[in-house]
């Protein structure tokens, strides 16, 4: 059900709520462009103008200067209600209509567009399913009968109803607790893989920005754009002290969460099986820079480490001697989690296995650090 997606471009957009004053406005000279199908996150401290910027797109607020282009067309040249009906809008306070059932809430824009009742209902059910709410159970309830997390989902479903090429989402997961929020984030990212909408997403949480955004616009007080780019850029090269502080002193670690083991060049490691003769093995290990040997079984499943120094002079290798296994990683593990596990287990290398548990290689602190140098995928 991947629908259309639009490009959005801010061109020198300025908003001054009090046009009399000459001081800095709520938003100042904002310029950036979002390609079709991408999530662009606006992030910054409270009052920096995120919401104002967002609302200028669907013209709930009119800019004082500058233009906003949707698929190259200035939004001010479009008919107001028609423009808005073509843009999905999720607001922080969710803003469900309390007097309408969930089904009616989701079908608001289709109704405005004149769809017939049957089609509206079908669409509402489809969307409820999409956001993980069983239609039969939820369709006829009122918003007051839902939990905070459920309401957020309905808000997203409602914005998606007319399959708009652009979605505006203002802190859509702001009102729920961290555990529910994490789940909603993951669900939404999974959804977006199919939908491939263009999304402008506002948050004040830098972690959420990094997690959700293909592009991140960091704004600072006075609605100034402090930096614009992919999350990895922000973390790797904060453009200013403000951005550096905003992304946090642990930005190196945050960056690691953007890459996965599969993005790293795995190192080979000398392996052997229990019962293999020790002598040739020792030679191989000594030739290798890594001072350990990995014991594997017939299926190439790792069993444990043997220290180069502890290898018996001769005779078969014994699985009993192996050092307890360090944590197993897989290609989908984020580098941050990998690092955490390695630190936790106090090992110098993480063993990477595939879905069947077969050895793929190892990662070391060095290889994780090096991955940071190359731009993340």
């Amino acid at each position: 059900m991947s629908g259309p997606a639009a490009t959005v471009e801010f061109q020198d957009v300025t908003k001054r709520y009090d046009p009399g004053t000459q001081g800095p406005g709520a938003v100042n000279d904002l310029s950036f462009a979002v390609p079709a199908g991408r999530i662009c996150v606006l992030v910054g401290p409270s009052g920096c103008g995120k919401t104002t910027s967002l609302k200028m797109v669907n013209r709930l607020i009119e800019p004082t200067a500058g233009r906003i282009l949707l698929d190259g067309v200035d939004v001010t040249s479009r008919e107001l209600t028609e423009l808005r009906r073509g843009i999905g809008y999720v607001i922080q306070q969710v803003g469900l209509f309390p007097h309408q059932t969930i089904g009616q809430n989701v079908a608001v824009v289709p109704r405005l567009l004149g769809w017939d009742a049957g089609r509206r209902r079908e669409r509402a059910d489809e969307l409820l399913g999409l956001v993980g709410l069983e239609p039969a159970r939820y369709r006829d309830r009122f918003p007051s009968q839902l939990s905070g997390g459920e309401r957020q989902r309905v808000g997203v479903a409602r914005a998606l109803a007319a399959d708009p090429p652009l979605m505006l989402m203002d802190e859509p997961f702001g009102a729920v607790d961290p555990i529910v929020r994490e789940r909603l984030q993951n669900e939404f990212l999974r959804l977006q893989e199919h939908l491939a909408k263009t999304i402008l997403f506002v948050t004040h949480d830098i972690d959420e920005a990094i997690k959700m955004g293909d592009l991140v616009a960091v704004m600072q007080a006075g609605g100034r754009l402090a930096q614009f780019g992919p999350p990895d850029d922000l973390l790797a090269h904060p453009a200013s002290d403000f951005v550096a502080r905003f992304v946090g002193s642990d930005r190196g670690l945050k960056r690691l969460s953007l890459s996965r083991i599969r993005d790293v060049q795995l190192q080979a490691v000398p392996t052997a099986r229990p019962g293999d003769p020790a002598a040739p093995v020792r030679q191989a290990v000594q030739a290798d820079p890594f001072p350990y040997l990995l014991l594997v079984d017939e299926a190439n499943h790792p069993l444990g480490w043997l220290d180069e120094a502890d290898l018996p002079a001769d005779g078969p290798l014994d699985a009993e001697e192996a050092i307890a296994m360090s944590p197993l990683l897989n290609p989908e593990t984020t580098l941050k989690d990998a690092l955490a596990m390695m630190v936790e287990a106090d090992v110098q290398a993480g063993v990477v296995v595939d879905g069947t548990g077969s050895l793929l290689g190892i990662v070391t602190f060095e290889s994780i650090g090096q991955a940071q140098r190359a731009p993340a995928a």
């Binding site: 609302k55 669907n58 709930l60 107001l80 209600t81 028609e82 423009l83 808005r84 009906r85 073509g86 843009i87 809008y89 607001i91 922080q92 306070q93 969710v94 803003g95 469900l96 209509f97 309390p98 007097h99 309408q100 608001v108 824009v109 405005l112 993980g132 709410l133 069983e134 159970r137 309830r141 009122f142 918003p143 007051s144 009968q145 839902l146 939990s147 997390g149 459920e150 409602r158 505006l168 529910v180 789940r183 993951n186 669900e187």
Partner: protein, 224 residues
């Protein structure tokens, strides 16, 4: 209490009760229509609210006795002699509540409506009005109870008016004939309480969302 007298006058009671309801209903309906227009005006142009509300409350300070008397010389023995003052008195209760009703619409709901492309009128009728219903009905309740009381005073205009107030006036004329005064007062009280109750039920019907069938919220479903 003279129960026999009451039994002899049940038909009058029915007639006066119907008249009472009729006089009340006209005043409430016309008052609501006019107040609604005034309230909308006030909601759209905030600067108009103070003068509208102020005027309505000044009208409210005019004693009913004087207002009925004043309209006798203008509208004679027509039903409007009773209705116009009754209607004027409803304004203060209606306008305040209707405006409060529209004000009670949460700003985020209004914003969501705008953001989804509702036109002004559509937003008003489909979103704001339904959400204002509880407070509007609260206004109707106050106006209804108060009007039912005032209708008794229209008895001062003669036997053609007064509704149940007729009994009160006639009871006074008979030398404070308690049975008849109570035959006017008690049904009038009951009528007010019943109408009030009926409006509460009407509100429940009109605003099912405010009374969740299942209180509390359902547990979060497992992630899909």
């Amino acid at each position: 209490m003279d129960w026999g007298w009451i039994l002899d006058h049940l038909d009058d009671l029915a007639f006066r009760t119907a008249q009472h309801l009729y006089l009340t209903a006209i005043a409430l309906a016309i008052g609501l229509a006019i107040s609604f227009a005034l309230a909308l005006l006030a909601v759209r142009r905030r600067s108009l609210y103070p003068p509208i509300a102020g005027l309505a409350s000044i009208v409210f300070t005019i004693p009913s006795l004087a207002l009925f008397a004043a309209f006798v010389s203008i509208t004679g023995i027509s039903v409007w002699t009773a209705e116009i003052p009754l209607i004027l008195y409803t304004f203060v209760m209606y306008v305040r509540n209707i405006v409060a009703g529209f004000d009670s619409v949460p700003p985020e709901v209004r914003e969501a409506a705008d953001g989804m492309g509702y036109g002004r009128l559509a937003r008003l009728w489909r979103i704001e009005l339904p959400l204002a219903v509880p407070l509007i009905i609260a206004g109707i309740r106050v106006a209804a109870v108060s009007t039912i009381g005032l209708v008794t005073i229209t008895g001062i205009l003669g036997d053609r008016f007064g509704g149940l107030g007729f009994f009160i006036f006639e009871g006074i004329a008979r030398g404070y004939f308690a049975t008849e005064m109570l035959l006017g007062a008690v049904p009038s009280i009951v009528l007010a309480l019943l109408v009030d109750r009926a409006l509460v039920l009407l509100q429940r019907r009109l605003t099912p969302w405010a009374h969740p069938a299942r209180p509390g919220s359902a547990p979060e479903p497992a992630a899909a």
